[in-house]
């Protein structure tokens, strides 16, 4: 029996041992194939494109090379978390929901393959810095590649979401982080 990795996933406690290759399981593979959470996608497997980002303790983190054991004791949030932890007062869920609405309003994608990673990257930014400048948004999203040329729509959507977030939470610094 392999060692269990305990962590919080989208607000729920997980204790699981990776199926398959012991000690080598990667978070992305566990999310997609073991837990059926497939909004997080593989783009390159080399931490270069940003498609597979998830929140780990609030930080936007590539999951394609991250060993499962490395999230022991941490809080992981994926795009599915936006719906799954609704009503639990989690800041990540609330900001992801605002981002989703803003992406719909701006039609901020063409193919959408990499959008999940961008939503996660934008959520991490807004949680850390609720009123980002254009340069700060661009810098935060520079880890995310888009081949369709939807960049300007995505930038508009993130700014729209940040503005909404500030309105929703008058004192963003007091938003609970868990």
């Amino acid at each position: 029996m392999a060692a269990l990795t305990r962590f919080t996933l989208n607000g729920q406690t997980q204790a699981l041992s990776a199926q398959g290759i012991q000690g080598q399981a990667l978070l992305l593979d566990v999310l997609r194939n073991q837990l059926g959470l497939r909004a997080t996608r593989l783009g390159c497997g080399q931490e270069q494109c940003g498609a597979c980002h998830v929140l780990v303790d609030g930080r936007s983190t590539p999951s394609c090379t991250l060993p499962l054991w490395a999230v022991e004791g941490r809080k992981v949030v994926t795009l599915e978390g936006a719906a799954k932890i609704q009503g639990q007062g989690l800041a990540e869920a609330a900001v992801l929901q605002i981002l989703q609405a803003a992406f719909v309003a701006e039609q901020a994608a063409q193919c959408g393959f990499c959008t999940s990673g961008m939503l996660i990257g934008a959520a991490a930014l807004i949680l850390q810095n609720p009123q980002p400048t254009d340069l700060q948004v661009r810098t935060a999203l520079d880890r995310h590649l888009c081949r369709c040329g939807a960049h300007n729509r995505i930038l508009r959507a993130v700014h729209r979401a940040a503005a909404e977030w500030v309105v929703s939470f008058k004192k963003p610094s007091q938003v609970p982080h868990d």
């Binding site: 990776a18 199926q19 080598q24 909004a39 498609a51 719909v104 990499c114 959008t115 999940s116 081949r147």
Partner: protein, 702 residues
Amino acid sequence: MTESAVSLGAAQTPCPASLKNHPRLSSWLRFSADGRVGVFTGKVELGQGILHALQRIAAQALALDAQHIDMLPTRTAHSPDEGMTSGSLSVQDSGTAIRHACTQARAWLLQTGAASYADLPGLIDMDQPVDWTLPSTSLDTAQDAGREDLRRIFHGHADFIHDLQPEGLLHGRMLRPRELRAQLDEAVWTQVAEQFAARQVGPVAAWPAALQLVRDGQCVGVIAPSEAWADAAAQVLHRDLKWQVQPHGLSLMDSQGTWEKQIAETQVFHESGAPAEPGVSDLQFSADYFRPYLHHASMGPSCALAHWTPEGLKVWSHSQGVFALRRDLALALGMPPEQVEVTHVRGAGCYGHNGADDVAFDAAWLARQCPGRPLRMLWSRADEMAWSPLSPAMRMRVSAQLHTDHEFTDWQHEVWSQGHSARPGRAATPALLGSWQTAHPFPALEPINVAAAAGAGAERNAVPPYRSAHVKVVAHRLLGVPLRSSAMRALGAHGNVFAAESFMDEIAHGRGLDPLAFRLGLLDDPRSCEVLRVLAAKINWSARRAELLTQEGWGLGLAFARYKSKGAYCAVAAEVEVTDQVRVRRLTVVADIGQVVHADGAVSQLEGGAIQSTSWALKEVVRFDAEKISTQDWEAYPILRFSEVPAVDVHLMPGGENPSLGAGEATQGPTTAAIANAVFHALGVRVRELPLTAEAIQRAMG
């Protein structure tokens, strides 16, 4: 995307080909008892929003809310064969057919007095031909609620082919050399295969018995019970296997390369008017331009599922053409096409003939070893970069003879390039990479250039829009190049428009003329002139040009093209700042795409095309050595990032009743040319070789 989500043919145009080929109402529409309407299309979603546009067309013609309409998956078993989803033709082809079919259904609904569409199949013969002469209601182009497919994706739905998880799924990976002609080192293979079979030493000792290693000629694949095992095994096997390759000695990395030494098939693509003897006052101009090989660089690695059942082979693919893929799969696998069913499932954004079809063969080939179980084949990032067809490098030589500043007596455009199309479904043998590498291989296909009527390939947009007494376009199709090339967004139009519009700028500068006025003086077509005039007004061209001359490193350039010489009209202005590198600060796009169906979709396509073209112009170049393509990841092949993306303003001309024209490929050529012209305006240096890097500028300065 090589597609438009935008346009619609006017009602008085002749019967669209799609409807001529599939005249029955039942080919396009299915009415269910629960009141839902299913719409069949042969076109596929590539990220361009085509299904949304088609659904809107159907909803309006049926006078039904779009939420009652299902766009049915494109599948060889039930969809009309509408060829490839390419060339910015989908709304023109499929949209027009669907609109006629829905207009017909609406007429029958009213005629029969049926309470709802659900009753129609009981009242009329669904196999009757559609009367395409019925007048259809005019299109309401008001803002809509946006794409439902995007809403689903933003909310985390697993709608991509990569996300399918059928029961009993196995996972496949290919082990293939990075070069077309490479051969497996047999001694190494024997050793690796023996170790694999014995499973006693090294990493293989821990591998589960369910892992299978399969070889057929130069095709090697691994079947695994899980994705993790598939990746782990592929990584070890890729490290251990060796391939041998002969150096090719080619140099196609700039305009000075071995172009003229390479075997080529030379054709006069176009000649009009008569060559004149140069007059004493005629001025001669000539320049060579170069565009490198480009990667499709899809964000998602190519992926397919295959399942051999007693009835035949089922394939799920993000191909641009499910019928063409079925035909070539059947050819390659030696079975009748009726026994192959291909279903389209969306992949990452697609901009032409990428690896989608090849990976479908790989999946089918490997799944044959595990009949009864579905198998997903997934390429790695490196596979994607090395195996997907490339957009071929191009050298352009443009020469002209100017009689007066309003009259060319001669314009000659020569282009050297591999063919721009090696798509499935067209040749006598399959166009699938893996089928060229089995123990009984089919021949590797030379890419071709499609006919002028289909928009041509390397020659696309090589015929100038400007008035000239004599025009001659010559194409040299390079043969025997060991790099695989095929269609990517705009095909040859990107290189040709970059060359011709840079050339126009050079002549204007040489004559001391304003580049806009020079173009307008040589254009006869009013819609062409109008997009340029509107562009100039939007950016305050003359004043802004003068203003930027006082700002060090800043420049403003423009360019124009009518895509395929018969498609969308597009003028682009680029404002750049040149520091240690070229930074594009603003792009302004003015396009005339005729009647607009979905303005937001059109703007999205035009802007996306302009940004992709900016990336091509500034950053992208495929590098290769004697043995392999060396740009195999995003570090070696950088594309434009968020911090580098310019502001983009897109203006659509009022289309009136003009037939609609695709928007997805209109901006690529003019954007790159406008950027090059802006760099010249900023620095006074003419860069004729892409990409416009600091090194290229240095070289151009001599």
